[in-house]
C-alpha cells in the first residue's frame, strides 16, 4: 500500500517537475510546481510529517505560489522564446546533471541498506505538538531570528514596491 502511494505520487511529482522545466508559459510552470508541492505534501504524510505537510500546502502552495501567480498575472508576459543560451550551459550542464543524478542515486542505493524501509505511521513524532515543542524549546533562538528575517523581508518588499510608485 505504502509503496503504491509512494510510486503514484513520486511519479506525479517527477512529472510535474519536468513540466515545470519544460512548459514555456510561466503560469503553467507555476501550476506544475504547485502540483509538485501537493505530491510532496502527500509524501510528507507518508513519512509521518503531518505538520510539515500542512505547512507545505499552506505556506508554499497557499502563499508563495499564489504570490508567483500574482506577479505573473500582473506582468502578464507571454511565453518565452527558446533561443541563445550560454555555451557552457549547453555543453556541460546536461551531462553534469545526468551524472549528478546517476551518481547520487548510486550513492544512496549503496549507502542506505535495504532494511531502511518507510512505512506509513512508522514515525509518529511529526505532529504539530512535537514540532511546536521542538521549535519553542531547543530551536527558540533560530525561530526568533527567522521572525526578524521575515520582518526584514517585509520591509524590503515594501520599500521595493514603494519605489515603483513615485
Amino acid at each position: 500500500m505504502d509503496l503504491f502511494f509512494f510510486v503514484v505520487f513520486a511519479v506525479v511529482a517527477i512529472g510535474c517537475g519536468i513540466s515545470v522545466v519544460l512548459q514555456t508559459h510561466p503560469i503553467s510552470s507555476a501550476l506544475s510546481l504547485v502540483g509538485v508541492m501537493g505530491a510532496l505534501a502527500v509524501l510528507y504524510l507518508l513519512l509521518g510529517a503531518e505538520f510539515i505537510a500542512m505547512a507545505q500546502v499552506i505556506v508554499y502552495a497557499g502563499a508563495i505560489m499564489v504570490l508567483f501567480i500574482f506577479v505573473i498575472m500582473l506582468l502578464n508576459s507571454g511565453g518565452e522564446v527558446r533561443a541563445g543560451r550560454s555555451v557552457i550551459v549547453k555543453v556541460l550542464g546536461v551531462p553534469a546533471l545526468a551524472g549528478f543524478v546517476v551518481i547520487i542515486a548510486w550513492v544512496f542505493n549503496s549507502s542506505f541498506s535495504e532494511l531502511a524501509q518507510v512505512h506509513f505511521g512508522g514515525f509518529s513524532d511529526g505532529s504539530a505538538r512535537s514540532v511546536g515543542r521542538a521549535i519553542f524549546g531547543p530551536y527558540l533562538l533560530p525561530f526568533e531570528v527567522t521572525s526578524v528575517l521575515i520582518l526584514v523581508a517585509i520591509l524590503g518588499a515594501v520599500v521595493l514596491a514603494r519605489k515603483e510608485l513615485d
Binding site: V21, L97, A105, F108, E114, V131
Partner: protein
C-alpha cells in the same frame, strides 16, 4: 527486497535528488526570471523532502524543524525576490534573465 510493501528510504532520497536536479535544470535552461525563481523553489522543496526523509530515518523531529525553517526562508525570499522582479520589469519591460546584465562589462 520490498518486504511488507514498504518503501526503501533510498528511493525517497533519490526522488529528492531527481527533483533537485530538475530544479537545477530549470535554473540553467530557462530564461524567464520568474521561472528561474520557481526552479529555485523546486530545489528547496527537494531538499525539504530529504530533510523529512532523514528525520524519519533517525526518528527525530529535527529534520522537520529544518524543513520548516527552509519554508520560512523561502517565503521571505519569494517576497523580496518578486518585488525585485517587479521593479526589474518596470525598469526594462522584459523578464529575460540575460537582459539584466548591466554588471557585465
Amino acid at each position: 527486497m520490498l518486504q511488507g510493501g514498504g518503501v526503501p528510504l533510498s528511493w525517497v532520497l533519490i526522488l529528492s535528488a531527481i527533483l533537485f536536479s530538475l530544479g537545477v535544470a530549470g535554473f540553467l535552461f530557462r530564461k524567464n526570471i520568474i521561472t528561474v525563481f520557481m526552479s529555485i523553489e523546486l530545489m528547496l522543496n527537494a531538499v525539504n523532502l530529504s530533510f523529512v526523509a532523514f528525520s524519519y530515518k533517525l526518528q527525530q523531529v529535527n529534520g522537520h524543524i529544518f524543513a520548516f525553517f527552509v519554508m520560512v526562508v523561502a517565503a521571505a525570499e519569494a517576497a523580496v525576490g518578486l518585488a525585485i522582479i517587479l521593479t526589474v520589469f518596470k525598469n526594462r519591460s522584459s523578464l529575460d534573465i540575460d537582459d539584466v546584465s548591466e554588471m557585465k562589462n
